[in-house]
Amino acid sequence: MVFGILKLINFAHGDVYMIGAFVGYYAARFFGLLHEPSISSFGIVLISSMFICAFLGFLIERIAYRPLRSAPRITSLITAIGISLFLEYCAQLIFGPDPKVFPQILNSVNLVQWGEVALNSYHVLIFSVSFILMVLLRFLVLKTKYGQAMRAVSEDVKVANLLGLPTNTIISLTFIMGAALAGAAGVLVGTVYPRIDPLMGIVPGIKAFSAAVIGGIGNFPGAVLGGLIMGLSEEMVAAYWSSSYRDAIAFAFLIIILLVKPSGFFGKYHPEKV
């Protein structure tokens, strides 16, 4: 999302997600929720992690991206990589490089057992939390005044500024929202896959970026579809073909898709004008 509006590859996004997971880990200890798995403790952890990540997102935007808004895009790309490295190594130093075990803040219960397919409470939880967040986001962007301003900034920063929109605040807010979502993702992933480590954000960061590009930059349904395609192609290849060539084949798909549709599935094609 941040990517669509600022046309900026945010490689640090994956690391914000990592920090989110760690905040969740420490929040659960801090509030003493280690042994009381329940919906409410999950909620507390989720919200505290989102809150702190939002603050982190604000800091990152303020310190590293705002001064570079008029600079060439590749410069901000490098800054993003720099921040990502910085967060990773700081996390290794502060949290320690060994993987941590994310506390069980929610019980795992098999809700429905249907032949070989089981529906776990975790799956329901992930699905419902992401669904709620998506709906909220869509509402924010499409229905509110703030969302309208966001879309305006996305179209053209200069014109939006001319029209009297507080572009800086809006971009800041966008960043904060993106970071909060990443924090939520960190907690969700930590709950389901209870192993978190300081370098867990690298691969998801790259994959999220790829998904956004496949779907068409700055397009919500596109990003969701892109994510689905990336994930499904990897899983399908691993399950039915060869798990050792999984990544290679997934990326080959990606290249073919981009060759056929050069601006992603739902990307708007902007004919160049002189």
């Binding site: 720099g82 921040i83 790259i206 002189v274």
Partner: protein, 318 residues
């Protein structure tokens, strides 16, 4: 007359440089020698990518993939076909470079109509594909890597390769081709309307950049005597990209300077680590990177060259 003089001068400087190098080659500590060789390899890598991303303006995140091709092809030849003679080594380096260039050509042809981030993703995907394929190739060791590659690369080989590739890029930049590259970077549409065959020049730039990466990869393999696929992950591509952006996109001497600095920096920070017993080497490295980008967003030299500055004016003939 003017160009003739300049060329002669350039060769003269190179000659003196080589003599000095062969002299110090035996007189410096192995540690420093190793660092110099590594910075030489990084110079070639950075300038190869600079040709693609800095001068032609095509963002590529797959440079490590081409490096891997060059490294593996040449190492395979050295280990299983030829052996460690220097003449064979030269041929193997060239073979590594050519194979990488060839891959650059086939990747470049269909994909260069993509723009910006889309191209970046495709190149990133390509280099990851190369890595995964190498991981699964048992003939070159797979994940266990390829050991016992002859240790051929020394300071003189590296310096020679650096010198030749710098001259190659410099000549290219000053020729019609280089002007076409710049035109494409500045405005593709305008370049096209001036009659420049965009695809042709993009492919030329991509292929030459890949070729240089292949050469650097071959030197790297014969320096370390061991390679495995994880060395050539996307982090490596990012490192090279950082070099050219830090040096100033499109600046030959800038990329060179940044490659040297970034090779020496982590080593220069080692004493600090030993004193404090804490590993914040990489934290300093990354914060320096951020600070650099914030204070000088266009890199150390911007688009200019070292000899464009007043203090080096003495060397400039104009």
């Amino acid at each position: 007359m003017w160009t003739y003089l300049k060329r002669q001068q350039a060769y003269l400087i190179l000659g003196v440089f080589l003599v000095v190098l062969s002299f110090i080659h035996t007189h410096i500590s192995p540690y420093l020698r190793q660092l110099l060789i590594l910075s030489g390899i990084n110079i070639i890598l950075a300038n190869g990518l600079n040709l693609i991303s800095g001068i032609t303006g095509q963002l590529s995140l797959g440079h490590a993939g081409f490096m891997a091709i060059g490294a593996y092809a040449s190492a395979y030849l050295s280990v299983f076909v030829t052996g460690p003679e220097s003449f064979a080594f030269l041929l193997n380096i060239l073979a590594g470079g050519c194979l990488a260039g060839f891959f650059g050509f086939i990747l470049g042809l269909p994909t260069l109509r993509l723009k910006g981030d889309y191209l970046a993703i495709v190149t990133l995907g390509f280099s990851e594909m190369i890595r995964v394929i190498l991981l699964n190739m048992d003939s070159v060791g797979g994940a266990r890597g390829l050991p016992q590659i002859p240790h051929n690369t020394d300071l003189i080989w590296t310096a020679g390769a650096v010198g030749l590739s710098l001259i190659f890029i410099y000549r290219m930049m000053k020729s019609y081709i280089g002007r076409a590259f710049l035109a494409i970077r500045e405005n593709e549409l305008a370049a096209q309307s001036c009659g420049i065959n965009i695809t042709k020049y993009k492919v030329i730039s991509f292929t030459s950049g890949a070729f240089l990466a292949g050469i650097a990869g071959a030197l790297f393999a014969h320096q370390l005597s061991y390679i495995n696929p994880s060395i050539f992950g996307f982090i490596k591509s990012f490192e090279i990209l950082i070099m050219i952006v830090l040096g100033g996109l499109g600046s030959l001497s800038g990329a060179t300077l940044a490659a040297i600095i970034l090779t020496f920096l982590p080593e220069a920070l080692r004493p600090l680590q030993q004193i404090t017993q804490i590993d914040f080497r990489m934290i300093i490295y990354s914060s320096l990177l951020i600070v650099m980008m914030l204070t000088r967003p266009s890199g150390l030299l911007g688009k200019r060259e070292l000899w464009d500055f007043k203090i080096f004016g003495a060397f400039r003939r104009s």
